[in-house]
């Protein structure tokens, strides 16, 4: 497998707090990696750094072998990286179809003005995350948390990513909704999508990942298969308080 994403000795400070302390890990193409750790470990910061929403103080982030550290967020999206957020961020006054449409819109003024939206593709993306055709006209205020998570996934998929960063993708969901999203992710995995998944729901997470990296205080403390990492004494002490 070829390395798709590489974090190389990445440091990020917020004033006196070190959020990411020389973190390094790789994600191979088609791999699904779990990023686990207690609250405040720096998991979301890693996602924000990979997306270019914040910039690291030192170290490099490489995608397909190219250093993307200097690129703005939208350029990273165009290269094939996309993320969801802990708290879903839909466009509140737009319906499901329009939310997906923004994700599908090419970053080209001419095409934005003179190109027509691909309604069939919008419907296919909506269906791929479990929406029905009649859901396209619904606005986010009428959606359940599970549906909002699906909308986040749909908007992310609309950007045609090669790697998806999923932040607390199961948070706030009912058991049935967790199963539905897990099934969806398993499906995407089969199709060859690469993932980094952050979740505290270890039961739902385990079958979805090939490997795990455990973090605390911005440092990786264990790396390996999910079972190995969860069996690690340092991880159990930091994460499970054992």
């Amino acid at each position: 497998m070829a390395t798709l994403l590489e974090l190389d000795n990445v440091f990020k400070r917020f004033g006196g707090i070190v959020a990411t302390n020389g973190l390094s890990f790789n994600v191979e193409k088609g791999e699904s990696l779990a990023l686990i750790g207690p609250n405040g470990a720096g998991k979301t910061t890693i996602f924000s750094l990979i997306m270019g929403e914040i910039r690291q103080n030192s170290g490099a982030i490489r995608f397909k072998g190219h250093d993307i550290s200097a690129l703005p967020t939208h350029e990273r999206i165009k290269r094939g990286i996309s993320r969801t957020y802990q708290v879903p961020r839909p466009f509140g006054d737009m319906d499901v179809a329009q939310n997906i449409r923004v994700g599908m819109t090419p970053d080209n003024l001419w095409q934005m003005v003179f190109g027509a939206p691909d309604l069939q593709a919008e419907l296919e993306i909506a269906r791929s995350v479990g929406f029905r055709e009649e859901d396209l006209a619904r606005t986010p205020s009428t959606l359940s948390m599970g549906d909002l998570r699906k909308l986040e996934l749909a908007r992310t998929l609309a950007t045609k990513p090669e790697i998806m960063l999923l932040d607390e993708v199961f948070a706030g969901l009912t058991v049935a909704e967790i199963d539905q999203i897990a099934e969806l992710l398993a499906e995407k995995r089969k199709e060859g999508m690469t993932f980094i998944i952050v979740s505290h729901d270890l039961r739902a997470l385990e079958p979805l990942v090939d490997r795990a990296v455990a973090m605390t205080f911005g440092k990786a403390i264990a790396e390996g298969s999910f079972g190995e990492v969860m069996g690690d004494a340092a991880v159990r002490a930091a994460y499970l308080g054992e």
Partner: protein
Amino acid sequence: MTRVITLRQAALWLIFALVMLALPQFVSNGTMRIMIFANFLAIFAMSWDFLSGKTGYVSFGHPFLVGIGAYTTAILSYRFGVPIAVSIPLAVLATLVGGTLFFLPALRIKGTYFALVTLAFMELMYQLIQVIRPDLTGGTRGMSGIKTLVSGAAPNYYLSFGLMFVIALALWMLSRTRLGTSLDAISMNEEAVSGSGLNTTRLKLVAFMVSASVAGLGGAFYVHYLGSIAPRALFDINFVFTIIVSALIGGSATIIGPMAGAFFMTFLLEYLRPILPGSERYFVYGLIALVLYVYQPKGIFAIVDDLRNGKLRLPGRAANGDAA
């Protein structure tokens, strides 16, 4: 939405144009002059809406852009004898330069801070016009005797309506493309637009440029309608509020709403004039605006939409008619 304009919408635009073009046959010259002002206010309100209503970057200094257009063509035609056919396009170009200046703060600030900076732009322009080359600008007293394009109420009405109609249709169609959708999305969550792979800096620049060119075009035609220009009349906070309230009363980010709001505001202020000749009438329009915002913050446009969909509710009642 597969097409930017449907047959039914095209028919509605055509009917609107025909009704407006027929109006001079039925109304007095006085009413026509009110409508001329309403047409220009609609242009300024739509210009404001394309920037502030769509992207959420609220401009309190829109007369800065209107003023660049108005002063450029006034100086060129009045002082240097440049034909209006040349001075107006040059005025729009000058406004685009001004729009770029206006845009720079939006790279770093938003919300209240951006609004205050734009207000500062207007005040700065007001001061500069009076002290920098008053021999050109006319200083505090401004300029009068500026060439007009046509004379008489009806020709001016047709000209101002024609300009307003073309701008309204163009902005409305533009707002229905994916560019319009992306600009709307910026006002809702700019980071998420960037996270959708779109260059938000470029999108905002486009919104500023379109808004500036419309403001400049409107300002240029307005000064050639009035035949005079004075800094206090143009760079005035009441003028700013009239533009903004028109857009908000009509329904921001809809283009049609600000156009309707401009007509509503103009006629409201005119009909209040005999009853309240002083500035007290601004209290009345403030009160109406307040009641409207409390009832329906999205303005007249949303109320008409609710009426059409049978969702209109009375205050204190839920949308479906159930007691709240």
